[in-house]
């Protein structure tokens, strides 16, 4: 500290100002370069993706190797089925835990759970794939939609836990107290007053988690596995958009590359739409909660 003061006295005000301006410019360059990378990625996605996108992409099955045309109808349906399965796994556990953590936050147990949830959030996605493989694929002896949905659902749990806890906490305390003052038991307060007030935020959290897992490829590679046709049952391999994009991207065929770009642009449009909508929603909800 003393050295710093001494060195500040040693330099003139002008030198210090120039140094200040130089450092600010460097920091500005850092921020700009990050934006340039983002725009470069989006630019290529739009240019390559939009030009490859057509109605066939949404309505047709993939063509055999060498034939041009075809689409990803099966992968689009597959992704939706996987996401529905994932919701069945992720939402009950995530929401239940989020409400528990928010309403009984003072318990030591809650701290432990919060910590474990954070750790779970950092587990690499491919590990969830391996886990789903050992508990679903190996006993059932087949790659399946169920195992893929299970893997994605596990990944959603920590995200949904976090966001539901936050939004349930945001419900003004007066509402809780008003309910309790009327002699309503705490659990009825939670179920009838708090959850309905927080439901918008909770839904947003679920959507964001869905957007995040919708693009996951690694946990699906040896669970859902992919399929060139529509799958007829949940215990068959099933196609998914990110898997299809991956397989087309590493293939040597130009037409498949085009399909990969088209798939990528559809995927990212969905992800971005949900994220921007959620940001808008959170901002308006914060104003709502601050205004009370």
């Amino acid at each position: 500290m003393k050295d710093m003061i001494q060195s500040a006295f040693d330099r003139t005000r002008l030198q210090r100002e120039i140094w200040n301006k130089a450092m600010v410019s460097i920091l500005f360059l850092c921020a700009i370069s990050v934006l340039l990378i983002l725009f470069n990625i989006l630019w290529h996605l739009l240019i390559q993706g939009i030009s490859s996108l057509n109605l066939d992409f949404f309505t047709h099955l993939p063509k055999a190797v060498g034939e041009n045309g075809g689409g990803m109808a099966n992968a689009i349906v597959g992704t939706f089925i996987l996401l529905i399965l994932a919701v069945c796994v992720g939402v009950p556990i995530g929401l239940g835990t989020g409400v528990y953590l928010s309403e009984y936050a003072h318990h030591r147990f809650a701290q432990t759970v919060r910590f474990i949830t954070d750790v779970m959030n950092g587990i690499p996605s491919i590990v969830f794939g391996i886990f789903a493989y050992t508990v679903c694929v190996m006993p059932m002896k087949t790659f399946s939609a169920l195992s893929g949905g299970f893997a994605l659902g596990l990944m959603m749990i920590p995200m949904i836990t976090r966001t539901s806890e936050q939004f349930v906490k945001m419900v003004p305390n007066q509402l809780r107290e008003a309910g309790l003052a009327l002699g309503v038991p705490q659990w009825r307060v939670i179920v009838d007053i708090i959850l309905p007030s927080a439901i918008g935020g909770i839904m947003t959290g679920i959507m964001v988690a869905l957007a995040r897992v919708a693009g996951e490829t690694a946990p699906l590679m040896f669970t859902a596995f992919g399929n060139d046709h529509f799958s007829r049952s949940l215990i068959q391999p099933i196609a998914a958009m990110p898997l299809q994009v991956y397989q087309y991207a590493i293939s040597p065929f130009d037409d498949w590359h085009r399909q990969a770009w088209a798939g990528a642009v559809v995927l990212i449009a969905m992800v971005f739409f949900i994220n921007i909508w959620a940001q808008y929603f959170v901002a308006s909800r914060k104003r709502w909660s601050a205004g009370k």
Binding site: N20, V34, F115, V119, G122, V135
Partner: protein, 309 residues
């Protein structure tokens, strides 16, 4: 009154099923991975981590090339991403006018939301040609005397994967360090200004020294993400089981060997060796995350740093 107490107690017990199931799940993941990699664990023991062969035909497995690849790509990625990410975070938190800062933060969050397979697609068709035609010839010409920048130039390889990883982890570094910087009490900064400090002096001497523990946490968290990243790396690292000092040469990482070979593993031992690699990934990511959370918690006071704000 006592009726209320009973129903509340029942409700709390029922609700507690969900958090307990999370604890069981995490324990179950750990157990399953250990259990499924037992054949490999008992055959190769600790040597698995230090053994430099990966030979599925003769069933001789060692993870050293993958550990090496993961370490090199992650560290190079950190070297590239930390200065840029922390710099951008400081700019957003301290200098940018609030509306600009808000817009840029939204864009950075979008960057974080891009699925990694799309990064990989961009990597194959934009980054790799650029590496092959511009960046690697340049590095080879001017820094070719260093062993890192020698050897044939394929475009795909360790350097391309590291740059890809850097791009992927920058948004995380920015959003976590931004929060750490915003958590520095304004009073401290104001005191520095009152003493006549310029903004940079206040920043480097007060804000950064107050926030350095949290920023370290952000960096470790980013390291965790880099280690666990699968698709983008698999698509552009070249997938070659060889340890080489050159960053131009194709390599392999822990995550990408699982992605590439898991579905093809035809014998029990092969599969369990791959699962053991998954176990290594899991343990490393748990350690890294616990460390990072503790550091960040010590600064921001237990507020979460990921997800929606």
């Amino acid at each position: 009154m006592s009726r209320n107490d009973t129903s509340d107690l029942i409700f709390r017990r029922v609700l507690a099923v969900f958090p307990i199931s999370i604890l069981i799940l995490v324990a179950g993941i750990l157990f399953q991975l250990v259990y499924s990699s037992l054949p490999s664990l008992s055959k190769f023991g600790v040597g698995f981590l230090f053994h430099n062969t990966w030979d599925p035909v003769n069933e001789n497995f060692g993870a050293l090339p993958f550990i090496f690849g993961t370490l090199v790509t992650s560290l190079v990625a950190l070297l590239l991403a930390v200065p840029v990410g922390v710099g951008a975070a400081i700019y957003l938190a301290e200098y940018a006018p609030p509306p600009v800062s808000r817009v840029i933060s939204i864009l950075v969050d979008l960057l974080a939301a891009i699925p990694s397979v799309i990064y990989g697609l961009w990597g194959i068709f934009v980054l790799v040609p650029c590496m092959r035609d511009t960046i690697q010839p340049f590095l080879g010409k001017y820094f070719g005397f260093l062993p890192f920048f020698q050897g044939p130039n394929y475009g795909v390889g360790v350097l391309a994967a590291s740059i890809m990883l850097a791009i992927i982890i920058i948004p995380f570094i920015i959003s976590v360090s931004r929060e750490v910087i915003l958590a520095v009490p304004t009073v401290y900064k104001e005191s520095a200004y009152a003493l006549g400090a310029t903004r940079w002096e206040a920043l480097s001497n007060i804000v950064l020294s107050y926030g350095k523990v949290g920023i370290l946490g952000a960096v470790i968290l980013a390291l965790g993400r880099a280690i666990g990243e699968v698709m983008a790396v698999t698509m552009i690292i070249g997938n070659n089981v060889k340890i080489s000092a050159s960053l131009f040469s194709p390599g392999y990482t822990l995550a990408s060997v699982i992605a590439n070979e898991f579905a093809e593993a035809d014998t029990n031992l092969y599969l369990s060796a791959l699962i053991e690699i998954g176990l290594v990934l899991l343990l490393v990511s748990i350690i890294v995350n616990i460390l990072a959370r503790l550091l960040i918690w010590s600064v921001t006071g237990g507020n979460s740093t990921e997800g929606m704000k």
